[in-house]
């Protein structure tokens, strides 16, 4: 029992990421409004980014910018002292690309609204079937 509790406590952030991810997924599936679906999509996306970034965290590590600036090339750097930068690189681009895709998604929503005069999914479907 104590073993279980220690596992749960040691990985608390994974559970919260999963919760966030499930919130986003639920919104994407169940919500009727297109903008709400887009919000859900963004939440899902940030949950995944959170997971990736948290992989790189090291206990006792500092941020991945080497402290000695120009000129001191002989300074020895130990990998243990710095947080893993690789997930940061991948996720940094993911955020900006996420905003760009958000723009595309919103453009689609505006286009749909101009055609069907509603953002609700079921009303759009009814109009499509009615035609």
């Amino acid at each position: 029992m104590t073993d279980l509790i220690s596992t749960v406590v040691a990985k608390y952030n994974y559970w919260i990421y999963i919760t966030l991810m499930m919130i986003g997924l639920y919104a994407m599936i169940v919500k009727n409004n297109l903008v709400k679906k887009i919000v859900g999509m963004n939440i899902f996306q940030t949950a995944i980014i959170l997971f990736y970034v948290s992989i790189g965290v090291k206990k006792g590590g500092t941020i991945p910018i080497i402290e000695h600036g120009h000129g001191q090339e002989n300074h020895v750097v130990h990998a243990v002292d710095y947080i893993n930068p690789l997930p940061h690189v991948l996720m940094l681009t993911a955020i900006v690309v996420g905003v760009a895709t958000l723009g595309v998604a919103l453009a689609l929503a505006i286009k749909i609204y101009n055609n069907y005069n509603t953002l609700e999914e079921d009303e759009i479907l009814a109009q499509v079937r009615g035609k």
Binding site: T62, I63, I65, E67
Partner: protein, 95 residues
């Protein structure tokens, strides 16, 4: 000093909860905007505190500066909405 900053940051997180409550229950959109604005101003302070906790202040101050510059754009955009479309609960037709 580290402990003082740690507990101050925790306290600020608690204050953010209070502001978030107003943002969640606020009867109108404008109340939500007040709450979010308050969260933004606390975030700047909290970011600098995290910088002190990492002992790398010179790196974190840029983020806080960017934050202080940009966090009112969203509020201005949302308030601009009301200049064009009057009405708090329902909107006038605007083409």
């Amino acid at each position: 000093m580290d402990n003082i900053f740690l507990y101050s940051s925790l306290y600020l997180a608690f204050l953010m909860i209070l502001s978030l409550v107003r943002a969640l229950i606020g009867p109108t959109v404008l109340d939500r905007m007040i709450g979010v604005n308050a969260i933004g101003s606390k975030t700047v302070v909290l970011l600098i505190m995290i910088g002190f906790l990492y002992h790398r202040m010179d790196m974190f101050v840029d983020i806080a500066l960017a934050y202080a510059m940009l966090n009112f754009i969203a509020v201005l955009a949302a308030s601009r909405y009301f200049q064009k479309r009057k009405g708090l609960y329902d909107e006038a037709l605007y083409r």
